[in-house]
């Protein structure tokens, strides 16, 4: 019963809650949203135990939706999507609680958008029908657009439109490619269906068309990741978005790009994806992201922009890990996807908490505040260290696995990527120093209140996850291993067969 319905419940529940929110009084909105988000998380937790690592796709449900066009409501979870779903349900209630003081206008609408967004995000990760996937991809775009555009900072409209157009541009191309796959398979079998498994089994060899379809998927996903040079929407979107928007954007939305590569671009187009030229392009772009993202992050005067560019760097590691296609590197990439959601999410929470106190995101507005807000400084230090991959924290596990795995495929590239750990230390420690260390020389900072109990409730679960994953990641690794192995098993031989 649970196994069949849980995914659907996770998709419907936030929508129901959003509907209730419209009718609820404004002052209760955040509490209702928090309750709904917490229940959503509680509903998702049993997935962890019910999940069978070697069981392939699970919690599946398939019902005809638009039979005439072969569209099904088909959802399911495997070792790749499991953690993306859990990450989403984990971060949503924290984002709601983290917005309690930040969002002061039109609260109902804000939380309703956040809940609709939740449905969209989970939908993207669980869809096993390409049409459904596309719908979910678009569904999540709209609430995010509103969250940035209405509750954002001064240049919120510019940022929101930029975010929207960028994503829209990619997703329209993706729609064309999806239709291309659909008609190719239909032409070959006479059956019209958007079903993921059906298409995967029946599109067959695509020839030149495969290059175009891959290109379209690549653009859609590369923008979302974001890979250099498609990343410039991110700093603007992050800077302008309210805290919860930034947390969700970095924590979950960015993973949709890399998830898309894992779920669609690689399995559908192995020959193209592993073509030497494509490999070279992706590896070079990933390395550029890692080093360039880090160097540009280093010189940002705005903390939020710094964290945004650091995301470009982190996601570069993920792309490198995915393309290296060894068991270690793919699992490492999945780990970084989780870790980045936690650590960068926490960084955005912390920056947001500073902003609520001082209304400035500029590094130079601070300095020496470890004296007045020791608890805040401690948490910020721990989270920063996890972000730069200190062993014992989650960050190290992901980075190490990606690099050790990628080294087997691309030794030189992995060696260059490893210098990213130096750059990361430079940009985060320099920022950390200028924010919490040095002399406390600004009068406005002398009376900053330390973390409140509510803020601690937001941060402590993330800290716990940071250490848990850093010290004992085995339960996660063992759950994702079969799925990662399966991906490699279908992509590598197919690519090899195509080149022969």
């Amino acid at each position: 019963m649970y196994d069949q319905s849980v995914v659907t419940v996770l998709l419907v529940w936030p929508l129901l809650a959003a509907a209730v929110l419209w009718l609820a009084p404004e002052r209760l909105a955040k509490h209702i949203a928090l309750a709904a988000g917490t229940i959503e998380f509680a509903l998702s937790v049993p997935l962890w135990w019910r999940f069978v690592p070697a069981g392939g796709m699970q919690f599946e449900l398939s019902r005809p939706w638009v039979s005439a066009w072969g569209i099904n409501y088909h959802v399911g979870v495997d070792g790749i999507s499991l953690f993306m779903v859990l990450l989403t349900t984990f971060l949503v209630p924290l984002s709601i609680l983290g917005s309690y003081h930040y969002i002061t206008k039109r609260e109902r609408a804000f939380y309703a958008n956040l809940l609709v967004l939740t449905t969209g995000m989970i939908g993207v990760f669980v869809s096993l029908d390409l049409f459904l996937f596309y719908v979910m991809w678009e569904v999540m775009l709209i609430p995010m657009y509103f969250i940035i555009g209405i509750w954002g900072g001064e240049r919120r409209l510019y940022a929101a439109i930029k975010f929207f157009l960028y994503t829209m541009f990619g997703s329209l191309l993706m729609l064309v490619a999806i239709l291309g796959l659909y008609f190719t398979a239909a032409g070959r079998t006479g059956v019209h269906s958007f079903d993921y498994g059906f298409l995967l089994a029946n599109v067959g060899s695509l020839g030149t068309a495969g290059w175009w379809f891959f290109g379209a998927f690549f653009l859609a996903f590369a923008i979302k990741v974001p890979m250099f040079p498609f990343h410039t929407w991110l700093p603007d979107a992050h800077v302008e978005a309210p805290t919860a928007g930034s947390v969700i954007l970095a924590g979950v939305l960015l993973k949709m790009g890399t998830y898309g590569f894992l779920r669609f671009a690689l399995p559908f187009f192995p020959a193209v994806a592993l073509h030497p030229t494509v490999q070279a392009i992706i590896v070079v772009l990933s390395l550029t992201g890692i080093i360039y993202g880090g160097l540009v992050a280093m010189v940002q005067p705005d903390v939020k922009k710094l964290v945004a560019y650091s995301s470009v760097s982190h996601l570069g590691f993920v792309m490198l890990g995915i393309w290296a296609l060894t068991l270690q590197s793919v699992q490492g990439a999945l780990m970084i996807m989780i870790n980045h959601g936690l650590s960068t999410g926490a960084l955005f929470f912390l920056v947001g908490m500073l902003y609520e106190r001082r209304h400035s995101r500029l590094i130079e507005a601070y300095g020496g505040i470890a004296k007045v807000v020791p608890l805040f400084a401690t948490v910020l230090t721990i989270v920063s260290l996890s972000s730069i991959g200190l062993p014992g924290t989650n960050g190290f596990v992901g980075e190490f696995l990606v690099l050790v795995g990628a080294f087997q495929t691309y030794p030189v590239a992995a060696g260059i990527a490893t210098t990213g750990v130096i750059v990361a230390a430079a940009y985060l420690l320099w920022a950390l120093q200028r924010v919490i260390f040095n002399k406390l020389d600004k009068a406005e900072n002398e009376k900053l209140p330390d973390l409140s109990p509510r803020e601690l409730v937001v941060l402590v679960p993330i800290l716990a996850a940071i250490f848990w994953i850093g010290i004992y990641p085995k339960p996660i690794l063992s759950r994702m291993e079969p799925a990662a192995q399966h991906l490699i098993d279908i992509v590598k031989p197919a690519a090899a067969a195509a080149t022969r």
Partner: protein, 654 residues
């Protein structure tokens, strides 16, 4: 031996307790002292038990304890495992033993600091990571400790973070260490790629058969590992962070930046002795860099005025010796010097702490704002701090290599090994000569430091003099213990020449045998050995006497009124301008490039400006053109229509 997990776990417990106290009751002192020192002493006790059990077991192979699977991914199996063997036992005893003494000293030294609990929590955490480093049974676990001690070093260097220089120094240390860690990581990738494991026992058993002796892979692995060592152990080219690290509290300098953490690189080479033995070129690099660093750092120490900076460059220099030892393949000699250095350098740092403590009190009492660490403000302090002066003299003679003190034996063994290897590979004669030169300078600058600090007329000030006095016993006590160890530490490894049995050498045999088997060390005749000892002792005596003759203690004036250095003195005083060079060649260009080219031009200008917003502008222009075309005038439409038809026809008919 089953209790070995307690050795790191106890300091971790101390960290958790003191860390909590630091937030809940930041003013509490007694609980913090009891816990902070107690866990260390208890850890030392357990370490003794473990070492005794190891000695009784006569184990040839390391005893490995696996606690949990850490990163099990396919063929990569990394577990959280500790290993007890001869090497980790020695390191564990040095770390907890010297660590305990320094913790006790800290109770006195830091007593009035408002961050007392925070200090002890960091110090306990450091010991936890250091023990993880030395006890780890595979490269990744050692790496946990490796980066962890770097973190604690960062936190403790920047302990008084309100001063920008301190925070800067912490950051510099962390980033330079990360450059080294890059090498460590790449070495791990190579090791796993070529041996299929990261566990010490498997890797070292496999390496001689899977890696070719002197081959490219073995050399690359050893060199990347050594890059890691140059960061952690402050060798050329990554040494510049260590002198700046003196910004931390003085006991921290003694524990982390002299006795333990900075020796981690030496430990790593000894640990991976098989891998280095497979790469003779890398061995020459290790010994060469060590010898060069030993001499280079010693030259800088000649002209420093800050007492802690003299000791910092001395540490860099002595670490160079240790690398000459382990690079030559004389692992036991390197580890021997590591241990004796831990004794006498901890003593020197704590002694300097005692001096600074006294100076600070004196200046505090008279509200003077003078530099309490500048030797030009000291002089004649032996009258006020007789214990400290006597004990520091013992350590000075030990580091200078005067027999029969500890440093004499360990330094002599390293130089002897280098000379012996010269008989088969002459380049080692050069390393020996560099080491000898450094020994001369060491004797000179250490005597200089002692004379300027403790002898001649006092320059602190007449009003301040009355406030100068010896530190409390909680601080002097540990100095006495270290004094005994510095004097008698040589017994650990007495050479056969004087009737000893190379005890430490024998003890380390199970660890070093595999590497030694790959490249047997040449033996020297007794005559040659005596000759080398004669040369070394002569050099040390010459250095000391030269300093006593050359330095005019009455001519020195307090720091405030001192004239700036000129010529070579200035060059040495300014540390050969290496910091300025790094700044000009690396730091500034990278930051400038990142800010003005990558960010402002490439990102904002080209990618976002021309690329993204450019697209927007182009589509706006197209849109504008579109609206222009809709003029509403029929004639215009007809013209356009005709032109279009003609164009289509022309193309179709061609």
């Amino acid at each position: 031996m089953n209790l070995v997990w307690l050795v790191p776990a106890l300091p971790l417990l101390g960290f958790l307790v003191n860390g909590t106290v630091a937030f809940v009751r930041p003013k509490t002192k007694w609980l913090v002292s009891v816990v902070g020192v107690g866990v260390l002493v208890a850890s030392f006790g357990v370490a003794l038990l473990v070492a005794r059990a190891l000695a009784q077991a006569h184990a040839e192979a390391p005893v490995v304890f696996r606690y949990w699977d850490w990163m099990p991914v396919g063929s990569l199996q990394v577990s959280y495992a500790l290993q007890v063997d001869a090497l980790s036992a020695v390191m564990m005893l040095v770390v907890t033993g010297v660590g305990s003494l320094i913790h006790v000293f800290s109770v006195g030294y830091m007593h009035e600091d408002e961050g007392y609990a925070r200090y002890f929590s960091y110090l306990n955490l450091f010991v936890f990571f250091m023990l993880t480093l030395v006890l780890g049974a595979n490269f990744p676990v050692t790496f946990v400790g490796w980066e962890g001690v770097g973190l604690c070093s960062y936190l403790l260097i920047g302990f008084w973070f309100s001063e920008k220089v301190n925070a800067d120094a912490g950051k510099k240390a962390f980033i330079m260490n990360r450059i080294g860690d890059f090498g460590f990581m790449v070495a791990m990738f190579l090791i796993w790629q070529h041996t299929g494991s990261l566990d010490y026992t498997t890797v070292f058993a496999q390496a001689p058969t899977t890696l070719a002796l002197g081959g490219g892979v073995a050399t690359a692995i050893a060199l990347f590992l050594f890059l890691g060592c140059t960061g952690k152990s402050a060798q050329i080219p990554l040494y510049t962070w260590l002198p700046d690290a003196m910004a931390g509290p003085t006991p921290v300098s003694a524990l982390i930046h002299a006795a333990t953490m900075v020796t981690a690189g030496v430990f790593l080479v000894a640990r991976a002795n098989v891998l280095f033995a497979l790469a003779p070129i890398a061995q020459a690099v290790v010994a060469g860099v060590g010898a060069l660093t030993a001499l280079f750092a010693a030259t800088i120490a000649l002209k420093q005025w800050d007492i802690k900076r003299v000791l910092a460059y001395s540490t860099v220099s002595q670490l160079g010796y240790m690398f000459v030892g382990v690079g030559t393949g004389a692992m036991a000699a390197g580890i021997f010097h590591l241990a004796t250095h831990a004794f006498f350098k901890a003593l020197l740092f704590l002694g300097s702490g005692s001096v600074i403590h006294a100076m600070r009190h004196a200046y505090h009492a008279t509200h003077a704002h003078e530099d309490a660490q500048d030797m030009r403000n000291m002089g004649g302090l032996s009258r006020f701090l007789p214990w400290t002066a006597t004990l520091m003299w013992i350590a000075t003679l030990a580091i200078a290599g005067i027999p029969p003190l500890a440093g004499f034996f360990s330094k002599d063994e390293i130089l002897g090994a280098a000379f012996a290897r010269g008989t088969t590979q002459p380049v080692w004669y050069l390393f020996w000569a560099l080491g000898l030169g450094a020994a001369l300078l060491t004797a000179f600058y250490m005597t200089r430091m002692m004379l300027y600090t403790f002898h001649g007329p006092n320059r602190t000030g007449a009003r301040e003099q009355v406030h100068l006095h010896e530190a409390p016993w909680v601080m002097t006590g540990p100095l006495v213990v270290l004094g005994i160890l510095s004097a008698a530490g040589g017994v650990l490894n007495l050479p056969a020449l004087v009737g000893g049995h190379f005890w430490l050498h024998q003890w380390l045999e199970p660890v070093t045998a595999a590497g030694a088997a790959l490249g047997p060390a040449p033996e020297l005749g007794h005559r040659t050995e005596w000759l080398l000892i004669g040369v070394a002792v002569t050099v040390a005596v010459v250095g000391i006497v030269a300093a006593m003759r050359a330095l005019d203690l009455t001519a020195l004036v307090p720091a405030r009124s001192a004239a700036p250095e000129t010529g070579l003195g200035r060059l040495l005083n300014r540390k050969w301008y290496v910091d300025e060079l790094y700044d000009a060649v690396f730091v500034r260009p990278i930051v400038w490039l990142s800010r003005n080219v990558l960010w402002r031009v490439v990102d904002v200008g080209i990618v976002d400006g021309a690329g993204v917003n450019g697209t927007a502008v182009v589509s706006r222009i197209l849109g504008w053109l579109g609206t222009r075309l809709q003029t509403g005038e029929l004639g215009f439409y007809v013209v356009v229509f005709v032109v279009g038809v003609v164009a289509v026809l022309a193309r179709a008919l061609k």
